[in-house]
């Protein structure tokens, strides 16, 4: 899945690079708040763990096997910010030390495999564990769904980027179908292995599972004076849902808006360029100025794009509102139950 050089055009590579850098910068700050002076050694060891675990090939179906991406797993085990850092460092090391993944594609790789998997995985996980009653089962089930969803979403993000700035003239629907299909399967494997891994850590060292911090019982100290309960309640996981939801929402709106705006002419655009210019067609021509207008000449291109962009934003907005409504309904019901 490590994207090499030349797969995406320059503007998308640069944009993804800027996005990845901003994401990593935010996470550096947040992780430091979570782990303070332990950040470097802990995140380093977890990164080494992720690197090792990515080499675990798991059988998906007869004849095919997948390997773990690990973003969701890391997010549940050590928290989303540290997770993004760990996976980003793994990708940097793979790019610079093992020539795995193009140097110009680092931004894309970090965006897809570190930021999207960790953030999506964590958001899904928190939605489920907040809605469900506090229990180990909920944490394990949440891990499964979170990881299973994070993989196809990452594949979908790949497809989106490919739509905007891919260098190959392939039908986006075909890419989406192929990537989606395979990655739904791989996602199931990722979900299964993530859930079981989280479950086995929960069984031995529940205190190490960041996402299960709510499960901790209050501590008791046995001193010379007898047993003294520790008053402070078990800490809820920091790095709560709100910043992630707000951030994720913004990203989704931005992507949907920008993608719809620019991509409206794109898929058939390449086709058009190829037909018009024959061998002189270059992928660099995907800059805004060169977008083929012919297809939409009658409808009025700018309006078309604008309306698609608006539609994209509206679509995301609607989804968020609907999802939020369901989520709050479930939570309210839980709360009513708890109060009763």
């Amino acid at each position: 899945m490590h994207v090499p050089d030349g797969f995406f055009n320059a503007p998308v590579s640069v944009a993804a690079g800027a996005f990845a850098a901003a994401g990593v910068a935010v996470c550096l700050k947040r992780a430091r708040n979570e782990l303070n002076d332990r950040t470097a050694p802990m995140a380093g060891l977890v990164a080494a763990f992720i690197f090792a675990v990515q080499m675990l090939n798991f059988p998906v179906a007869a004849g095919t096997s997948g390997h773990l991406l690990g973003g969701a797993l890391a997010a549940i085990l050590v928290g989303p910010y540290t997770a993004v850092l760990c996976v980003a460092v793994v990708l940097l090391v793979q790019g610079f030390f093992f020539a795995d993944g193009g140097l110009t594609a680092l931004g894309i790789n970090i965006t897809l495999m570190a930021v999207v998997t960790s953030v999506v995985g964590w958001a899904v996980f928190r939605l489920i564990t907040r809605a469900a009653p506090r229990s180990r089962g909920a944490v394990v089930a949440g891990s499964f769904v979170a990881a299973a969803v994070s993989v196809p979403v990452s594949a979908l993000a790949f497809t989106l980027l490919f739509w905007i700035g891919g260098t190959a003239p392939i039908d986006v629907a075909a890419v989406a179908a192929a990537m989606g299909g395979v990655h739904v399967l791989i996602g199931l494997g990722e979900g299964l292995i993530t859930a079981l891994t989280v479950s086995s850590v929960l069984a031995v060292r529940p205190d190490l599972v960041y996402g299960a911090a709510g499960l901790r019982r209050n501590l008791v100290l046995r001193t010379a004076d007898g047993e003294v309960p520790v008053e402070e309640p078990a800490p809820a996981p920091k790095g709560g849902l709100r910043p992630i939801l707000v951030g994720g929402g913004l990203i989704a709106v931005l992507l949907a808006g920008v993608v719809s705006f620019y991509a409206s002419g794109s898929p058939d655009g390449l086709e058009r360029v190829a037909a018009d210019k024959g061998f002189n067609a270059g992928e660099q021509e995907s800059g805004v100025a060169n977008w083929p207008l012919a297809d939409y000449a009658v409808k009025g291109v700018e309006n078309e794009r604008l309306s698609l962009g608006v539609a994209g934003v509206a679509g995301v907005g609607l989804t968020v509102v609907a999802g939020g409504a369901v989520f709050y309904a479930v939570r309210r019901r839980n709360r009513v139950k708890a109060d009763a």
Partner: protein, 254 residues
């Protein structure tokens, strides 16, 4: 004891390329990759020129061709993809040996293949001639966030230790007749992964304690810093400089 270096790309040596300060090499490799990616795909001659430049670097760094070729397997999945593009690509089609191929797809496939290959070879040469810890010093010198460099440092230090632990677990599994054949074996693998996480995390805690015991207060002391002379920058700038010139020329010719 520590046998986990099969994947390491570094080839010790004492050549001009090896001796260049790491920060220069990092920027040179990145600059080269950018120039390659920015080159129009019709400029076959430009890609040939890039290949010659890399060959020159490989020769100067005494990196044998076989070494580079063997490491290039890493891009195989994307080569397969590149080969598939002309077949599934859209647009005008052309018959080649009785197979209908997309013209645009052929261009795209070639574009990906050429750029990815040049990028991979540049990365391989960088990794082959730069010791991992030097690479970190270079990154530090280039003002990459301290914390990120440190995380990478700890990761590199403990990667082999953890891979060894994983290998021992696999030996333990397999010596009891376990083979990962289908989905039913996933729980066993996941248990190993869980155990590996706990070991990694606990080692992280112990390392942190070891650091505290030696006066660590959250800031890593900078023990080695390397500056590069203007001449060294000049030498390292040769590759991206030539590549950039080639890219510009290829644009003005098309």
């Amino acid at each position: 004891m520590s046998a986990g270096h099969h994947h390491q790309l570094y080839r010790p040596g004492d050549t001009v390329v090896h001796r260049l300060p790491p920060q220069c090499k990092l920027l040179a490799a990145a600059g080269f990759a950018v120039a390659v990616v920015a080159t129009p795909r019709e400029s076959f001659w430009a890609f040939a020129a890039y290949a010659v430049m890399l060959a020159a670097v490989a020769a100067a760094g005494r990196v044998p061709p076989g070494f580079v070729l063997r490491r290039m397997v890493i891009e195989v999945p994307f080569v397969l993809f590149a080969v598939a593009i002309p077949i599934i690509g859209l647009g005008e089609r052309v018959e080649v040996l009785g197979v209908s191929l997309s013209v645009e797809g052929l261009w795209a496939g070639w574009n990906i293949l050429a750029k990815a290959t040049l990028g991979v070879v540049a990365s391989i040469l960088l990794a082959a001639t730069t010791e991992p810890r030097m690479m970190l010093l270079g990154a530090q010198r280039l003002r990459l966030p301290q914390l990120l460099v440190q995380i990478a440092m700890f990761m590199l230090r403990y990667m082999d230790v953890i891979m060894d632990e994983m290998r021992r677990m696999r030996v333990a599994r397999e010596s009891r007749g376990f083979v990962a054949r289908d989905v039913r074996q996933i729980p066993v693998l996941a248990k190993s992964a869980g155990a590996l996480f706990i070991r990694s995390y606990e080692r992280g805690e112990r390392v942190h304690l070891a650091m505290l015991s030696r006066g660590y207060t959250g800031e890593m002391p900078i023990i080695r810093d390397m500056s590069a002379s203007l001449r060294q920058w000049g030498a390292a700038g040769l590759l991206p400089g030539l590549a950039a010139a080639t890219a510009v020329l290829s644009w003005s010719l098309t």
